[in-house]
Symmetry: C2
């Protein structure tokens, strides 16, 4: 099965840098050799036909042929007429004597990262957001954070000499915040759960790692939204899982587009309410199909609801978990409703897996600081979160509207500019392909951080456009940024 | 090589519960079947001879024979005369039809954890410390935490509207604390490093996970101190590594006791200054041997210095990293010098691996909350940490002395009671074996939390005694606890 070959995580780790001084075939050669040396492409394995790999990586077939030839010349591959290209069973280095041993006490060899770390270093993980730059996505209005309330609550917390939140009692000290989150989820998201099901940690990435640990075995397949988060792919691969992108359209994640019989998967990670980066909502039919798949195939859904809690228009859209919690693990964070710097995230574990999730949390030591949890619990209990969100909704509505208006008037009809009703960003798409990476790069000169849509696409079918944040930008600047964006697109044609 | 079989992580996951209603052979059978079904013991693999496994697990040979026989009867094993016992290539369930599919929308199958999670659920991970119980180890004096200073500093931090510590700027916002830690390490531990090398996160467990990711490949071997931390073993196994215990004696971790040629390892995790639970210090000769091993074998050392920063007597003992930083990753936390609830830990990365460590930190999202980091940085900068530690040293000296005196007068000569000069616990050993678990269990009735030494021993050679904390107990109570401990040991014989 060629699909089998392509889904092996090794292929996900190949990332070629166009425009680099190193020719593409040389990059491909080096990365393939690394994966072969690592054993990620095992000895004796059949490599995909050159045409297939070139399609998968969106490079010319000749580049693949050259890389394969170089690997064959160096003794890593053999071609068998009519059968394909195979990894050798014996490598040249197998015949080498052991490397000379350094003098005791000395250390002449340079430190070298693991093959895995090297592969990830070479991976095109998007740069970290530059939040002081214009339109940087995903960042809440940092100046509107309730600093004074936090100053008061923090002072109260520490002055109470709360020894229960200073020690190691991670399991019990977390309960007040779990209770607040359970109540909040029921009120705002229609999710009914017991406080014991709410497990609190620092990042939704940890939710994915714990879910993988509790529910999946090494090498199991995980379905990810395409386009979608890029670092998520790196994290799951690092957890020993095989990752497979599934296309997203205006109706959201489409489980029917995945051939389960050919490549059975155990977990799908989706954002049903506000997909990232598209912002689409999963339709009722797609939701039912996904839940049916999970029930029928012993699969699981990790619902990452990170972007949908701040909504200023339209009827609230329920998360997947609100309808059927049996095979859905729900996760979200306080990054957008409060502040990313607080590093507070949580998941809702299925009732019968609470103990397994708590053990995973303990083994990986995924706990959030206790004083912070006490602070946020009190912030919620005394009604501050509700009033903060009311205030922020008005601010974000104005900022989102300003950005959409600015884009529509400056960009003309070249882009699809959606109406945004929730979240902190707006994704614009161009119906025709263009070099969105070049535009994004040029915008850095204007102190604007607008990631290209193509970066989030895993499949060969790239979409082009920009992910534009409005959360942390005042209205006046948003108008100016829309203008600069339009001008830069025009300049680079 | 039988060693090869024994070092396979599968064996580390076998944990039998004595005194359970389920007979031992039945437990062993069920756990072996799980490991075989999981593929952790691969099809076709040779199992260790029954005598070997019985030694390894410290059970009777007959128990192993019975478990093997049951597995053979059920079609998972075959005995080949004169060759040994092998896992079958074909299992009974291979012939079964696929399980019936649940009705769409319904979900009749119960949630089941991954085989890995099930194995860990069955593992004898020690219970969480009950810190309100007497002598619970590893807990600092929670009532002596500088609450008022923190109240003042927290108020100042939030009132300054520090937007740079509210957002996503994890990489830059962390620098003030990195600078303070680098200066602190140079002054108190003799470690010279640049602030950029100091990577801050939430737990030293994350240091092990990152080090494994950056420096090791899947299946590489890690050497752990025996006796030593038990959860560490679970964490590393969960990271896909093979774990091998290496004995510790009064001179500390002994790399010479490990047969490198037979089972090459890539990483040793040690506490050179204050070993847990023994409290011994690694001798100069052992240190040199360990560094020589690392230099010669392309190995690494993760130095966990968690327990040695609070010392009230004797000359300061330098960590391993202070002498030779080339192949040593240093890690510690604020758990003992400040408070576990703060969840702040750090590592010092080798200069040439800073980028690889930072990428691992990003991929796993191992960042500590930014406001907390700002708070602790200011706490250190303004000299509060130094004066807090001065004050705590006097308190811990008195508590440690009281405990040692109490034990010596009540226990008589049955136990070795060491002089403790640092840390928050004291480990007493009995020269003869006894049921320390039973005593530990009985002590819970007296609201005392004194873990048995045998729990921390991985090898068949168990040592017996107790790990006794004095950090969080006032002097008066410590006297009383020593008395109850002695009485309970006497009662249970």
């Amino acid at each position: 099965m060629p699909m089998e070959v392509f889904n092996y995580p090794a292929w996900n780790l190949i990332a070629l840098e166009r425009g680099s001084a190193i020719p593409l075939y040389q990059q491909l050669f080096a990365q393939l050799r690394g994966l072969i040396a690592d054993g990620r492409i095992p000895r004796g394995a059949r490599l995909p036909p050159s045409r297939m790999l070139s399609d998968e990586l969106a490079i010319s077939r000749n580049t693949v042929v050259l890389a394969y030839e170089k690997l064959a010349t160096e003794g890593y591959l053999q071609k068998r007429l009519g059968a394909g290209t195979f990894v050798e069973q014996v490598f040249p280095e197998d015949h080498l004597p052991r490397p000379p041993v350094a003098m005791p006490g000395g250390d002449e060899r340079p430190a070298r990262p693991s093959i895995h770390a090297e592969a990830l270093l070479a991976l095109d993980v998007p740069p970290e957001r530059i939040e002081r730059f214009g339109l940087s996505p995903g960042i809440p209005a940092l100046n509107e954070f309730p600093y004074e309330v936090f100053a008061r609550l923090a002072g109260q917390h520490w002055r109470a000499h709360a020894a229960s939140h200073t020690g190691y009692d991670y399991a019990r000290a977390t309960l007040p915040l779990s209770r607040q989150i359970a109540a909040y989820l029921e009120e705002t998201r229609g999710i009914v759960c017991r406080p014991e099901q709410v497990i609190i940690f620092s990042s939704t990435v940890q939710a994915a790692a714990m879910t993988a640990h509790v529910l999946l075995n090494q090498g199991d397949r995980v379905l990810l939204e395409d386009p979608g988060h890029v670092t998520q792919l790196a994290t799951l691969t690092a957890c020993g899982l095989r990752v497979e992108p599934v296309p997203v359209d205006d109706d959201g994640f489409d489980i029917a587009a995945h051939d389960h019989a050919a490549s059975p998967a155990r977990l799908a990670i989706v954002s049903a309410v506000e997909q990232f980066p598209f912002g689409c909502t999963m339709s009722a039919a797609r939701r039912q199909a996904l839940l049916d798949w999970a029930a029928a195939e012993d699969g699981w859904v990790l619902e990452d609801d990170f972007n949908s809690e701040i909504r200023w228009s339209g009827a609230p859209v329920p998360p997947l978990h609100a309808g059927n919690s049996g095979r859905v693990v729900y996760t979200s964070s306080f990054n957008r409703v409060l502040a990313p710097g607080l590093r507070l995230a949580y998941l809702v574990a299925p009732q019968e897996l609470i103990e397994a999730f708590k053990l995973a949390q303990r083994i990986f030591s995924f706990y959030a600081p206790l004083p912070d949890q006490a602070l946020v619990a009190e912030f919620m209990r005394s009604g501050h979160l509700a009033s903060h969100l009311r205030r922020m909704r008005a601010i974000y509505r104005e900022r989102a509207g300003t950005l959409a208006d600015g884009l529509r008037s400056h960009l003309g009809g070249d882009f699809i500019v959606p109406d945004v009703k929730a979240g902190l960003h707006l994704t614009i798409r161009s119906p025709r392909p263009f070099d969105d990476r070049a535009v994004s790069k040029r915008l850095l000169d204007h102190e604007m951080d607008c990631p290209p849509l193509s970066r989030y696409c895993r499949s060969a079918l790239k979409r082009h456009g920009f992910v534009l944040g409005f959360g942390n930008n005042p209205v006046k600047r948003i108008r100016r940024y829309a203008e600069i964006l339009a001008r830069t697109i025009e300049e680079l044609g």
